[in-house]
Subunit: 255 residues, 2 copies
DNA sequence: CGTCGTGTTGAACGAAATCAACCATCGTGG
DNA sequence: CCACGATGGTTGATTTCGTTCAACACGACG
């Protein structure tokens, strides 16, 4: 397959320059997780990296979108809006998550980089061909989609039934679970994490206003559930306590 | 493949008795939609039908679940609950929808029949084998899962950002779209539909209390947006008006 | 130094929850 | 046959949680 240079000026490197998939930090969790050597070679031939800065709009809902991608690094949000401007975040893409829907030519949601990030992109058409030919890829995409559906439903429970305080606590728990934690949960140890979102973005995630988010974070701080250094860095002295504040969902019952 | 009688006493018929897939009302929309003659023969050999009465619990979250199924007829709900009893519906299964997650041995959600219903079941293990061997099946499941994810995200927008009145209107729109309408939307024509849920179940769906649901339905009636005959039968004289009341989502913008 | 983006906090307000009474329908058993 | 309770639904009064409106704090940056 002949490789052509994609059209994102200044964001593209030719295959020879590209970091190899072997050293990719998300190699074993991303869409390519089940791929074997020759699958990978084929993917490697068509992939290209793209850097996005915080705040940059990656795709606009309804607009054509000619690529799909894995998040290598950084965080992006999927949002939906009503005509009057009310907006709700409907997806949070963390490293290894997949962006785009094969078989659909327009973006289903508005995708925005929440932090500076690195994407591993594939042009949509060739990717769809590979999907059709490679059951391992299809199966992996199915697995990931089912996981996302579970996550979305957990989120629905949060949006529909949790209090503002529980929402904030749940959000921190989700971040910790997804490994956004700075020091990975040493048991009984204080846990640190860095919020990848502004207060406003958190509000859009949680179905609140930014004022309520701010107030509830302050309340959790006052009550000793969390500590803050700067606006973005959170310290959780007692993870069990945080979990209790989160209202308790499916996973807390399991784990 | 040898067919054994499943263990649901009184709910099982042997393959010879079973309605053939050819005449199945959901044949072209369900998991089997892309199947060809020989795929279908294999599916047909292992399927069995199960009737459920309204209110019956089909699966309990966390309990083992040894089958997957297509909804042939009727409506079921997926719900999640917090320890203190707050519950949120996270999925509504209408005819042709798929129930169960291949690769997972326990129910992820509590599944309850909202109306009397008919399921077309497959035992999980054999179904998983067929999935692994049959790309058409996998591809169809992927499509359906992606659609459900889109629906879940639409739902998140509703839960997070819509008012009670908009939520009720949106619910009616969803029902109409999914073809739950009695008389299929003749343009400019009055549309009738039958609510498949109690007020309480609607509340769980919409993240409201049953009192609020009742009040908002009354309000929509007073304002002439809908008419009621009995508790369950709704008449929509002006669909565009209803759509306007729903707050306007992605699809209303498209369509 | 002023301004912009981001965040915090206070006061007043309002939409939905809560608490409570009541109504209609339906099946059941005396 | 009717009294009975159960289930599902409506409506009213009151409360509460989160929103809205508004002022202010802080750091970055031209």
């Amino acid at each position: 397959m002949q490789v052509k240079a994609p059209i994102f000026a200044g964001q593209v490197r030719y295959p020879d320059d590209l970091p190899s998939c072997d050293q990719c930090p998300i190699r074993d969790r991303a869409i390519c997780a089940h791929c074997e050597a020759d699958d990978l070679t084929r993917l490697e031939a068509t992939k290209y990296y793209r850097r996005c800065e915080a705040g940059q709009v990656i795709a606009l809902m309804g607009e054509p979108m000619d690529f799909v991608a894995s998040v290598v690094d950084g965080v992006a949000s999927l949002t939906q809006t009503l005509e009057d401007g009310r907006t709700q975040m409907v997806g949070l893409l963390l490293p290894s998550d997949f962006l785009g829907r094969p078989g659909r030519d327009c973006a289903g949601y508005t995708v925005t980089a929440a932090t500076s990030m690195q994407l591993c992109c594939f042009r949509r058409k060739p990717f769809e061909v590979m999907l059709a030919c490679n059951p391992r890829l299809t199966t992996r995409l199915l697995e990931m989609t089912l996981d996302e559906l579970d996550a979305a439903r957990e989120w629905m429970l949060l949006l529909g039934r949790k209090t503002a305080r529980e929402k904030i606590a749940s959000f921190l728990v989700i971040l910790a679970r997804r490994g956004a934690a700075v020091n990975f949960a040493r048991p009984g140890q204080s846990l640190s994490l860095s919020l990848p979102l502004t207060r406003e973005a958190m509000a859009d995630y949680l179905g609140l206003t930014l004022e309520t988010v701010s107030r509830q974070i302050s309340a959790l701080r006052r009550d000793g559930v969390i500590r803050l250094s700067g606006n973005r860095d959170v310290d959780v002295p007692d993870y069990a306590r945080l979990l209790a504040e989160s209202g308790g969902d499916r996973d807390s019952a399991r784990a």
